[in-house]
Structure formats: structure tokens, C-alpha cells
């Protein structure tokens, strides 16, 4: 079969004010091929895709589409030639229905009238939904759909224009495993139809499974390309980070005492969690695994006193806690690294120091007056301890930090309260491999020093790599508990799906 080239980048570079985001990138994409694009955050993946999609112009180099020079000036130029980009953060209007969302870029009108032809659009939408295997009415409001269904709507929307190239940017971050499987089946189908696909993801197993070809970016340079068969996960990682992380997870030296730190008894809140019982000891890292919507984060919110619960007891250090009172919990020695650091963890407009100190102001002040010297010292110590990469802690705004460093700031702000129990929800979401490994080290270090850690996550590997025990949740209930010896991917999955499998 003669390979037909669809998209080609030749020596493309892009600099922002003299700093190169990508340098001399050359890449080819053939018809009916899936290209996996991997790299750490900030490696230049987004810049590259923005150039392909006409959002940014390249500083030098040229692009070819189906052999012809291709110079997109604006995103609609890319759409016109047949390049479609499905963003990581979905661009859907949740208050509108599926049809409106699919045709938002150009509603079909009734001939000669400025009125929308809803009937025609509904027909087209229906067939597009059928193509992605989504069995819902096109009149459904998007807000009623699950994240996975929304992703499929985006795909349906993009195939309406019959694109030749579809770019997926981290499509699986908010999907359940089942939805991910469905997505992969659709991608395979699109490939069979002769469409070319660029698949960007942090989940290397998926990339290995799905793609034909892989390109690895590091610091704006392509460090390796080749057929997927030639890549092992280890090779991908070493190409991405420039070194081989043989030990992603720190070796565990467990120091679990017999003393029970947290115990939860028959905790229930209708529609959220049901009959939760668990115990956590000093120095233990307890994992809570569950799929999207299993009630993991909701449980964490209740434990930290942010949300209400109807019945049951939360006992911390032998004392029954009040229902909804995070302040009491912080004073008692709890900390909570939330799942969304930007929305719930950080004050983006404030310097690093303010962010780190905010939880420990009570100990950094005397009669309500903040001791500036001590506060600065506390922040500087944290910076050193966690290796936060920033300039002066009292000047550098948190919004100017990378995701990994932001996450370290959130963890630092809780560690500086010297917590006895730290709840961490998705501690490594959206941060690169190097930072992930650092976060794991920090958490293990804390556990070794006697802190109890409740690690809530949807990433199986990180739980297996860090936890001594894992509790599995499904539909708000605990459906399984695995200890150190039994932990393996299959048993976790089995517990997570137990309910659906039984049906």
C-alpha cells in the first residue's frame, strides 16, 4: 500500500520573545495513521498543535498539507483544509442541547429565512451520534451528560466537517475505563475510515496500545520518532525526561504504628456515600480507588468537613469530629490537598509565600499580628524542602509556576501546619513525570515520619506504587479492600467494576 502523506512539518520553530518553545521540528503524518505525541508538560506539544491549527504562526519552517504548502492564519483555515482539534478542556456549552453545540459554528437555516432548520440539524446530529455510538436524543442538554458522553459529542461535532486529521489532546483524563475503551474503539474506526489521528497523552500505556507511530518531544525538540513497536514504556520515559526513571516510586520503608489515627463509622449521605467504614493508622498510606463518580472526592470533602453528611461518625485521634467544620479539623491536625489545585488549593494572584503560609498563620502570628520574618522563613524553608522552583518566594506569583511546582506549593502549605493526617486527592493530576516522582517521594517521606496519608486517586499505578492498603469505592460504597500482598491491577479493577459486572 502506498503511503499517502497528509500532513508534513519541515524544520518548524517557534520562539516567544527569543525563547524557543519548539526548535526545528519535522514530522510526517500519513493517511489512516495514528501518531502518538508524548512529552512532559511544557515540552512544546501544545505549541506544536497550535501551529498546526493556525492559532500561532511558526517563526520559521514550513507546513504541507496533502503535499501542498499550508499556511494557516487562523483556526478556521485549519478547519477548512480538514484539521480538527479536540481540546483537553471541552469547549461545550453546558446550558445548550447537543444539536446547538454541534452546529455552533454554523447553524443550518431554512432556505431564504433567518430561522434555524432544527429538523435538518437533528437528522444530521442523529447520524453523527450514531457514528460515535452514542444513543441519546440530540435534544438532550449537555449538562445532563457524563464527561465521557461529552467527549463523544466533541468527536461527533468534529466529524461533521469530515476532517482528514483529528487531533486528540489528553482525551481520557476525565473518562472512566469503560468510556475510554469506547473512545479507543471509535478512534480505531476513524482510522479504518482513512482519517489520520494525532493522539496526545500522558498515559503511555494507552499510547503504546493505540498508536502506529510515536514522536517524543523534550524541551521543544523531537528526541525520538519511530514505529510504536520499537518503543517500550521505559524508552518513552527516558526519551521524555532525558534520563531513565527506573524507580518512579520510592522504595517503601514502612513505619506503620498500631495507633489508629482516623476511623470512620457507618458514614452515609444520601446520593453521595453509603455506609463507609474505614480505619487509618499513623504512618500508613491508605489508597482510595474508584472510577469517576464513585464518590472518592465526595468522601474526602466530607472527611475534611467541607460537605454535610447525614449519619455516621468521623473519629480523629479518638475524638468525634463536628459535622461541617474544616477549621476544627485543621486545628486538630488534618490537611487536605484538593483535586483541583487552581480552584480550591491556591490563590493564583498571590506570591508563593502567602500561599504556603495561609494555613499556618495562627502559629506565625502573635495576637493577630503576623510575624513577617517568621512567615518568610517558613516559606523559604518549604521552598527548599520541596524543591519548589521559583524566584523570591514573596515576589513570585503562583500563577507563574508550572503545574508540578504549583502542586508542591499546595502540599507545602499543608505540611507547614505539621499535619498528622494528610488527605491528598489526585496528587499528581496534570503534572509531568519528573514532578510526579518528587511528589511521591514527599508523601512517602511524610508517612515515614508518622503522618497518616489518605491518597485518593483514579490512577491505579500510583496507588499500587505508594499505598500499603487500598480501599475500592464504587457508587458511593466501599466494594473492596486490598492489602499490600494482594494489590494488583486486576484485583483493583475487579472491585471497581464489581457492581456493573454483577448486573
Amino acid at each position: 500500500m502506498a503511503e499517502e502523506q497528509v500532513l508534513r512539518l519541515e524544520h518548524v520553530s517557534k520562539d516567544f520573545f527569543g525563547i524557543y518553545a519548539i526548535t526545528d521540528v519535522s514530522l510526517e503524518l500519513n493517511k489512516g495513521e495514528i501518531l502518538g505525541l508524548i512529552g512532559e508538560n511544557g515540552a512544546g506539544k501544545s505549541t506544536m498543535m497550535n501551529i498546526v491549527c493556525g492559532v500561532l504562526p511558526p517563526t520559521s519552517g514550513s507546513l504541507f498539507f496533502e503535499g501542498k504548502p499550508y499556511e494557516p492564519k487562523k483556526p478556521s483555515d485549519a478547519e477548512a483544509v480538514g484539521i480538527s482539534f479536540i481540546h483537553q478542556e471541552l469547549n461545550l456549552f453546558n446550558n445548550l442541547n447537543v444539536i446547538d453545540n454541534m452546529f455552533i459554528n454554523g447553524f443550518r437555516h431554512i432556505k431564504g429565512l433567518p430561522l434555524n432548520n432544527n429538523k435538518e440539524m437533528a437528522e444530521i446530529a442523529k447520524s453523527a451520534l450514531a457514528q460515535v455510538g452514542l444513543d441519546i436524543s440530540p435534544y438532550t442538554k449537555v449538562e445532563k451528560l457524563s464527561m465521557g458522553e461529552r467527549q463523544l459529542i466533541e468527536i461527533a461535532k468534529s466529524i461533521l466537517g469530515d476532517p482528514k486529521v483529528i487531533i486528540f489532546d489528553e482525551p481520557t483524563t476525565s473518562l472512566t475505563n469503560k468510556e475510554t475503551e469506547k473512545l479507543f474503539a471509535i478512534i480505531e474506526k476513524l482510522k479504518a475510515e482513512g482519517k489520520s489521528i494525532i493522539y496526545i497523552s500522558h498515559i503511555l500505556e494507552d499510547v503504546q496500545r493505540l498508536t502506529d507511530k510515536i514522536a517524543v518531544l523534550r524541551d521543544g525538540v523531537i528526541t525520538a520518532t519511530g514505529k510504536t513497536e520499537e518503543f517500550t514504556i521505559d524508552r518513552m520515559i527516558s526519551n521524555m525526561v532525558g534520563r531513565s526513571i527506573t524507580q518512579m516510586y520510592p522504595p517503601r520503608i514502612e513505619n506503620i504504628s498500631d495507633e489508629i489515627l482516623l476511623s470512620v463509622k457507618n458514614l452515609s449521605q444520601p446520593g453521595v456515600v453509603k455506609d463507609i467504614n474505614l480505619e487509618l493508622r499513623k504512618g500508613e498510606i491508605l489508597g482510595i480507588y474508584g472510577l469517576m463518580g464513585a464518590g472518592r472526592s465526595e468522601l474526602a470533602n466530607i472527611l475534611f468537613g467541607l460537605d454535610e453528611y447525614e449519619s455516621g461518625q468521623i473519629i480523629f485521634k479518638g475524638k468525634v469530629l463536628e459535622k461541617k467544620n474544616p477549621i476544627e479539623r485543621i486545628k486538630a491536625g488534618m490537611g487536605y490537598v484538593t483535586e483541583n489545585r487552581k480552584e480550591e488549593g491556591l490563590f493564583l494572584e498571590f506570591p508563593v509565600a502567602e500561599n504556603i503560609n495561609i494555613t499556618s498563620l495562627r502559629s506565625l502570628s502573635k495576637k493577630g499580628i503576623v510575624n513577617k520574618k517568621e512567615a518568610l522563613k517558613n516559606a523559604q524553608d518549604s521552598k527548599k524542602m520541596f524543591g519548589i522552583k521559583c524566584e523570591a518566594v514573596n515576589k513570585h506569583l503562583v500563577k507563574g509556576l508550572s503545574g508540578g511546582n504549583q502542586q508542591k506549593v499546595v502540599i507545602a502549605k499543608w505540611v507547614s501546619t505539621r499535619p498528622e493526617l494528610l488527605i491528598v486527592d489526585e496528587p499528581t493530576r496534570g503534572i509531568d513525570v519528573g514532578a510526579k516522582s518528587e511528589v511521591y517521594n514527599i508523601l512517602n517521606e511524610l508517612a515515614r515520619a508518622g503522618t497518616g496519608i489518605l491518597m485518593v486517586s483514579s490512577e491505579m499505578e500510583e496507588l499500587i506504587g505508594n499505598c500499603s492498603r487500598i480501599i475500592v469505592m464504587n457508587k458511593g460504597m466501599i466494594t473492596g479492600e486490598l492489602n499490600n500482598q494482594e494489590i494488583c491491577t486486576e484485583s483493583l479493577l475487579h472491585a471497581a467494576f464489581i457492581d456493573t459486572a454483577g448486573m
Binding site: 480550591e344 490563590f347 507563574g400
Partner: protein
């Protein structure tokens, strides 16, 4: 290269917190060159005297804006507190004027206000305590509605504004209460030891307290945090509701201070004294650079804003602009200030990238 550096200087100037202070000086000199009367002692005195009561109100508004809220009820607090001072300290009340007041015969009597029988200083001190309590309490009520019932600050304080303005008029049947204690009037226009202008002294102390509260205390940090990201504040263990209630109470308190100064200056309790002041308070605060999006601002910025605002108002009066035009010009300047806030924010964002 040269163009580049002058551009850099401009950007630096624009994002500097002293920008509006510099602008005040530039504006003053430019107007002074056009009309040298601007430099006369009379004019300077005028600007100086107008600044302090307005600044008291603006300081309260600064706290509220830092939370990302707004307090529209300050003007009514000023009016109501003025009425309360009048009722407490007024001289003789005529039945012809006050006979229809709901307080006629119990609190408002022909013989004089509630505290008019007390020794003068005691009466004045008690009246001030009551007035400040009234202002703080109204702010506290606003805060409770906003914090506990999660009502939008705009609506809550708008309703509050309507309610208390109406009550102020109702209490005294729309009449002015005259004949206040001279010691009370001294606060609004007197000079301590013959040369320290009382409102200046009072409001400078208030400014220092506010500045300390915001920059040095834990409570101050809490205000900035709630204003910047209230969800993260709750997760970090900040008592958000308490902060909101306290901040609106402070706003009410500051408005009450302003009321005492205005009332003392006019030597009467007037139920309409605060009318039309909302533009001045909000305008001056925003001109000073306090962001309406919350989380950004300093107490001392309100001083800069008030200085600019008072120079502008005085200059327009001096140039005999007609009053309609004056309002239009003021409006444009506030609009400029708000757009400046947006421009500065976006410049700063680009600089941190």
C-alpha cells in the same frame, strides 16, 4: 532602543501603585497653569477639607471591594447616622415640623434631643458611641445576609440602601435637626489647638488602623484570600462567613465616621446628607486602584483616589462647569479608572508569563 525604554518607563509608571498620586500632581499643575486660582490658599483649603469625610467612607468601601463585594448602603448609613445624631443632640424641635414624626413625644420632644439634658461632653461622647454602633450594626446585618443566606452583595446592599434612606426620612419627617452640641460640631470643622483640622486627625488615625489591619494582621490576610478565591479560603480553614460579616461591619462603621464628620461640618442632622455620595465614594476608591474583582488594593490607595477626586471636583467647580456637565465628566473619569484597572491587570498578567 530608546523607544523601547520609554515604553518600559510608561508601563512601569502605569503599573506603579503611585500612578494615581502622580496623576493628581500632574492634573493639579495643568489646571493650575490654565487657571492660577487653583494655587490659591482658598482652593487648597477647600480640597483639603473635602478629602477627609470622603476618605472615611472610601476606607470602608476598600474593605468590601477587597472581598470582591460592594456596599451601596453606605450613603444611607451616612444619612441615618446623621439623623440619629440630630435626634440625640438636637436643640429645640418644633411641633410644626416634627409633629408627624413617629418619634414625636417620646424621643423627639419640644425641649430637645435625647441627650440634650446631659452635660455637653458626656452627651456628645454617648451620641458618637450610639452613631458608630448604628453604622456598624447595619453593616453587620448586610454581612449576615450576604454570608449566611449567600445573597449577592449588590442586591443586599441596594435593598439596605433603600430601606435605611427611607427610615432616615421617616424618623424626622424629612426635616433637618439643628442646634447640635458645639463639641459635636467641633469634630466636623474644628481645629485642635487652633491648627490641626479635626476631620484630618480622625481620618488619618482611621487610615493608619485600616492599613495596619490589612497589611499586618492575620485578619487582613484572610480578607485578601477570601476576595481572591473564596473556595480555596474555606478549604484553607479561613472562617469565610466571619470575615464577610466583619468586613461589612467595618464598612458600616467607616460610613458612620463619615456621617459624624459631615454632620458636624453642616451643624445639623440631615436625612438627605448622604444622597448622591455613592458615586463619590465608589469613584474615588476605584480611581485609587482598588480592584473591583477583589483581592487587590491597599487602604492607602483610597487616600490617593480621594486626593485625585477632590482636586478634580474642586477644579470643576472653580471652572464653573455646569452641574450636569460636572457629573458627566466625573462619570468619564470613573470609567477611565475602571478601564485602567483592566489594562493594568492584563499588563501584569503578561509580565508574569
Amino acid at each position: 532602543m530608546k523607544a523601547n525604554s520609554s515604553k518600559q518607563i510608561f508601563v512601569k509608571l502605569l503599573t506603579s501603585e503611585f500612578f494615581i498620586l502622580i496623576m493628581s500632581a500632574v492634573y493639579y499643575v495643568v489646571i493650575g497653569i490654565i487657571s492660577p486660582r487653583m494655587f490659591s490658599g482658598n482652593m487648597i483649603n477647600n480640597i483639603f477639607q473635602n478629602m477627609w469625610p470622603l476618605l472615611a467612607g472610601c476606607l470602608g468601601q476598600t474593605f468590601v471591594l477587597l472581598l470582591g463585594g460592594i456596599d451601596l448602603s453606605q450613603t444611607s448609613v451616612i444619612s441615618l447616622c446623621s439623623v440619629v445624631s440630630g435626634i440625640l443632640l438636637g436643640g429645640k424641635f418644633q411641633e410644626l415640623k416634627f409633629g408627624t414624626s413617629p418619634l414625636w413625644g417620646n424621643l423627639i420632644k419640644e425641649s430637645g434631643g435625647v441627650f440634650s439634658g446631659l452635660p455637653e461632653i458626656t452627651g456628645t461622647v454617648l451620641a458618637i458611641v450610639v452613631v458608630l454602633l448604628v453604622g456598624t450594626l447595619i453593616g453587620c446585618i448586610n454581612g449576615l445576609f450576604i454570608a449566611k443566606l449567600n445573597m449577592p452583595p449588590f442586591m443586599t446592599t441596594l435593598i439596605s440602601q433603600m430601606l435605611w434612606a427611607a427610615i432616615a426620612l421617616w424618623l424626622v419627617s424629612s426635616q433637618n435637626c439643628t442646634g447640635l452640641n458645639p463639641s459635636f460640631n467641633f469634630l466636623g470643622k474644628g481645629k485642635l489647638g487652633g491648627f490641626i483640622y479635626m476631620p484630618f486627625l480622625i481620618v488619618i488615625i482611621l487610615l493608619i488602623i485600616c492599613e495596619m489591619l490589612l497589611s499586618k494582621t492575620v485578619f487582613g490576610k484572610w480578607i485578601y484570600c477570601v476576595g481572591s478565591n473564596s473556595r480555596a479560603a474555606v478549604v484553607s480553614g479561613i472562617p469565610k462567613n466571619l470575615v464577610i460579616v466583619c468586613v461589612y461591619s467595618i464598612s458600616g462603621f467607616c460610613a458612620a465616621v463619615a456621617s459624624v464628620l459631615y454632620t458636624g461640618r453642616q451643624m445639623m442632622g440631615r436625612p438627605t446628607i448622604g444622597d448622591g455620595m455613592l458615586n463619590d465614594i465608589l469613584g474615588a476608591t476605584v480611581i485609587g486602584g482598588v480592584s473591583m474583582y477583589g483581592g487587590k488594593g491597599k487602604a492607602v490607595w483610597a487616600l490617593y483616589g480621594v486626593l485625585f477626586y477632590c482636586i478634580m471636583t474642586t477644579s470643576m467647580n472653580m471652572l464653573h462647569l455646569n452641574s450636569f456637565l460636572t457629573q458627566a465628566v466625573k462619570g468619564c473619569i470613573i470609567l477611565l479608572a475602571v478601564s485602567l484597572d483592566v489594562v493594568r491587570t492584563s499588563i501584569q498578567q503578561r509580565m508574569t508569563k
